[in-house]
């Protein structure tokens, strides 16, 4: 016992045999199955794992933030003080003051009703007993610390007036307000653009060095881990698979799972199609305007140009990768090319001028032009079975098919995307993210399209699943001679998938060219920053 308590005193946080269970209608789910962890003062411990590995639930369990049906057992000591089973009052002395957290979603973890100055002051007022007036000085200091420009003015801003990166900085400022010993960062940069991601990580590192606090970094991104952490814990299905220093894990991984994770980086290249390949889809001088505001009687008076005079030529069998940060207009461009949005410009599909086609004229062509979305959770209607979802297009475009024929086609399509045909009687919520994305792909390929626009199809997936989906997309392309437009912010995926790359910013093309040229010798400064931010980490 004495040896144990001595051991725990050295560590900021010491976790022994921690279990997290959830009671669900289908019985108990063991999210975390008895894990051991130690966090030493001033170090950065990365907890790595794919979604569902229990990495976030471990920390939520320690902080007493589990959902109502969750239970935590075992032991978690903060400097020798047991946190598990502590009543909320006791827990509040530690959390928010000694141990603080930042979350993944900077868009939703700030309260939209309060100014950021007030929100940062909140922990100071609660834990240090300051008044809001006294806290103001400290808030200014914190905003300066996390690198928010014009902190005096920004203090009175509301969250919606700030960008994602700035909001994440505000979250960090809140977490630092009480000078914690331990900062738990749960996927702090996942929702951010690559360039912003690098800035936030640099900020975290410099702050850590200044204050000497320990950081627990929960992430699925091994690039970040390698760059940022001292030690790594690899988790899988609620258990610790392997732990060790960065060097040990990255250079001599012992477990197969760790090796697999390290190898899951998308790889391979796409050969460009022959020069003689015909152009299948072309958009010249594409512009999209969105109306902002406007009333009932006066119509809209202001508009925002999301895509500004962009031209794209897609050859048969080609994959064009469109890269850009959020707000660059890349998704809008994809939808405009499919004529799903009101837009101006000239459009040709398979030698047909479709510039003036309205919705009903486009309808027969929809079969040839398909779209796969980013969010595998949102793109499938939760009230339909998988069979209904994937055969819906057949109902529209091949109404002569009988029910049995449609069923046959559904079975074939599901097999093609590597799913069990029995899946067609199930509902989307019973599938994992990767499986859902396969269903979404099945819905597109069942119509035997010529062009598929892939809008961030892998961004919401774990790296290893990402690899499988990329593999699947490649196979389908080879088999059916598909042409892809691949929209993504993830340069590694773009590099593996496409033979031609378009870099977009603020609705305009910054640079375009064959993949190798863009990745090996970018000309524009913006492309260079993008590359540096993405590949420096890895």
């Amino acid at each position: 016992m004495t040896a144990d308590s001595m051991g725990t005193n050295e560590n900021v946080l010491s976790v022994r045999g921690l279990k997290v269970d959830f009671t669900t209608p289908d019985g108990d789910v063991n999210a975390v199955k008895g894990i051991d962890l130690d966090v030493k003062p001033g170090e950065t411990l990365a907890v790595v794992g794919e979604s569902g590995s229990g990495k976030s639930q471990t920390m939520m369990g320690i902080m007493g933030l589990l959902a109502n049906n969750g239970r935590v057992a075992g032991s978690a000591r903060y400097r020798g003080k047991e946190l598990v089973g502590l009543p909320v009052k006791g827990l509040n002395e530690v959390r928010g003051s000694k141990i603080t957290m930042i979350f993944q979603e900077p868009m939703t973890s700030l309260d939209p009703l309060y100014t950021i100055g007030r929100q940062i002051a909140e922990p100071l007022v609660h834990h240090k007993g300051m008044t809001f007036k006294q806290a103001k000085v400290r808030v200014l200091e914190l905003l300066k610390l996390v690198g928010i420009p014009e902190p005096e003015r920004r203090m009175n801003s509301y969250p919606h007036e700030m960008s994602g990166g700035q909001r994440q900085r505000v979250m960090i400022a809140m977490a630092l307000a009480n000078e914690p010993d331990l900062l738990i960062a749960d996927e702090p940069t996942t929702a951010l653009d690559v360039t912003i991601q690098a800035q936030i990580l640099d900020l975290l590192r410099s702050l850590q060095q200044r204050f000497g606090m320990a950081v627990v970094l929960i992430t699925h991104d091994l690039g970040i881990v390698k760059h940022f952490a001292d030690r790594v814990v690899v988790m899988r299905r609620g258990e610790v698979v392997e732990k060790g220093s960065i060097k040990e894990i990255f250079e001599q991984p012992k477990e197969d799972y760790t090796k697999m994770l390290l190898a899951a980086e998308p790889s391979g290249i796409k050969e460009p199609p022959a020069d003689t390949a015909p152009i299948i889809l072309e958009g010249r001088n594409v512009s999209v305007d969105f109306a902002i505001g406007g009333g009932f009687f006066f119509g809209s008076n202001t508009s925002f140009r999301a895509v500004d005079g962009v031209s794209v030529r897609l050859k048969k069998g080609q994959t064009i990768g469109i890269v850009g940060e959020s707000g660059s207009g890349k998704s809008t461009l994809g939808r405009a090319l499919l004529r799903l949005l009101p837009s101006s410009g000239h459009y040709h599909f398979a030698d047909k001028n479709i510039s003036n086609f309205d919705r009903s004229a486009m309808r027969p062509l929809r079969k040839e032009l398909q779209l796969v979305f980013q969010d595998p959770y949102g793109s499938l209607s939760p009230r339909q079975t998988v069979g209904e979802i994937i055969t819906e297009g057949l109902l529209i475009h091949e109404p002569q098919l009988s029910r049995a024929d449609r069923d046959k086609r559904a079975i074939a399509a599901l097999k093609e995307v590597g799913l069990d045909p029995a899946a067609r009687n199930r509902y989307p919520h019973e599938f994992s993210g990767g499986q859902r994305q396969r269903i979404a792909i099945a819905r597109a390929v069942i119509l035997k399209p010529k062009v598929v626009i892939l809008d961030e199809p892998t961004s919401a997936l774990d790296r290893s699943v990402q690899g499988q989906v990329i593999e699947l997309l490649r196979d389908l392309q080879a088999k059916h001679g598909l042409s892809y437009i691949f929209i993504s912010h993830d340069l590694a995926v773009i590099k593996a998938m496409s033979d031609y790359v378009i870099v977009m910013k603020n609705g305009k093309i910054v640079e375009e060219g064959p993949t190798e040229e863009i990745f090996d010798s970018p000309h524009q400064a913006y492309t260079k920053t993008l590359m540096a931010a993405a590949f420096d980490l890895e």
């Binding site: 079969k367 209607s381 029995a422 509902y427 919520h429 990767g434």
Partner: protein
């Protein structure tokens, strides 16, 4: 690699080839909610009582019992044995005969009457004329017809809920009131459901100027005073059962349209709607196949709130005298009548009120249970 792909498949038991839909999951959650389940049981019992009860009891809702006006509720048969004697005496007086002997055994009576003159056997019709007696026959004639022995059947009535001021059985009237109140409640809710969901989904999905126009129309209808609208309609078309639920449905759909429109606006941004557009579905197909099924959760919950609201509205109309016409009645009308005689005959108020309150409670519990069961946050 292969190891990873099999994780999700192992989570799904292979023998279970049919998936559980969100709706089925909601049903499972709902079943576990005791209050909501007892609400369902109570509502079913009340429905059975209202719709099948009239076939079991012998009185009809418009049958008048002049002998039993404003009788308090009792489990004993009426008239009671002691009062029967008085009734018989009264009848004998009217027939100008003397009652010598009177006895009641089960459903028949025996009586001996005497007069100074021979009694005309036809005077037995005096006995039949009373509500309580029937089929009176002469069994023996004594003293040259001056004494007659009579037998006949006794009518004894049960009024467990008492009778109203017109001598009608409250039990039968509450059953009828239940039929009308429940029917109005559910039919008017269906009207508002059909109109509101369609209107709201179209308005929300098409959006833009059409949405603007459609929603302004809703606001204009909102601003019309409800009672005024009803009075005008009643004056023009007369009072009728159909009119009542049309009027109520016509007012209630406004709320439904707003709720569905809000849901639709949120759904419209979801990617599966975009996917449907990319598949080439027409607007109407998208509304029918994707928008409406996905609004069903909040809509069902809202309907369970609308049903009691409609029943209350109908009661309010009946209370004002604008509801169903006598001899038809509804719980609202019964409560209104009962309220007028609260002090002299409290049972006229208490019994319909109990049924009404229990129904409203049940519906509210069911609504609560459904909201919990369908709450997307619980998924």
């Amino acid at each position: 690699m292969t190891d990873l792909t099999d994780i999700p498949t192992t989570l799904i038991p292979p023998e279970e080839s049919k998936g559980r839909s969100l709706f089925q999951l909601a049903v499972i959650r709902f079943r576990r909610n005791r209050a909501a389940m007892s609400g369902i049981v109570m509502l079913t019992l009340i429905t059975i009582f209202s719709f099948f009860g009239p076939y079991v009891i012998s009185h009809s809702y418009d049958q008048v019992f002049p002998s039993y006006v404003t009788v308090p509720p009792s489990l004993e048969p009426l008239p009671k044995a002691e009062t029967l004697g008085d009734v018989m005496k009264g009848v004998a007086d009217r027939a100008r005969v003397e009652l010598r002997d009177f006895a009641v055994e089960d459903d028949s009576f025996t009586a001996t009457i005497h007069s100074d003159q021979p009694i005309d056997p036809r005077s037995t019709r005096y006995f039949d004329r009373a509500n309580e007696f029937d089929n009176t026959q002469v069994t023996a004639t004594e003293e040259d017809g001056r004494t007659l022995k009579l037998t006949g059947e006794v009518h004894r009535e049960y009024f467990p809920f008492g009778t109203d001021a017109n001598g009608r059985d409250m039990l039968a009237r509450i059953m009828l009131g239940g039929q009308i109140s429940l029917a109005v409640g559910f039919l008017a809710s269906l009207v508002s459901l059909a109109v509101g969901v369609t209107y709201g989904a179209i308005s929300g999905y098409i959006g833009g100027r059409i949405d603007n126009v459609m929603m302004r129309l809703v606001e204009i209808l909102y601003s019309l005073p409800f009672v005024f609208l009803v009075v005008v309609l009643v004056v023009f078309f007369g009072r009728s059962f159909i009119l009542i639920f049309l009027v109520i449905g016509a007012v209630e759909w406004l709320d439904m349209a707003r709720i569905v429109r809000g849901q639709t606006l949120a759904l419209k941004r979801r990617e599966f709607i975009g996917a449907a557009q990319a598949l080439g579905l027409t607007d109407w197909q998208i509304i029918r196949r994707h928008i409406i099924p996905n609004t069903i959760g909040p809509v069902i919950v809202f309907v369970t709130v609308v049903v009691p609201k409609v029943i209350l509205l109908e009661s309010f109309l009946s209370f004002l005298g604008l509801g169903v016409q006598a001899p038809l009645t509804s719980w609202g009308a019964l409560i209104s009548e009962g309220a007028n005689k609260m002090q002299s005959a409290p049972w006229l108020l208490i019994f319909p009120a109990i049924f009404f309150v229990v129904t409203l409670f049940s519906l509210n519990f069911i609504g609560d249970g459904l909201r919990d069961a369908l709450d997307p946050k619980d998924r």
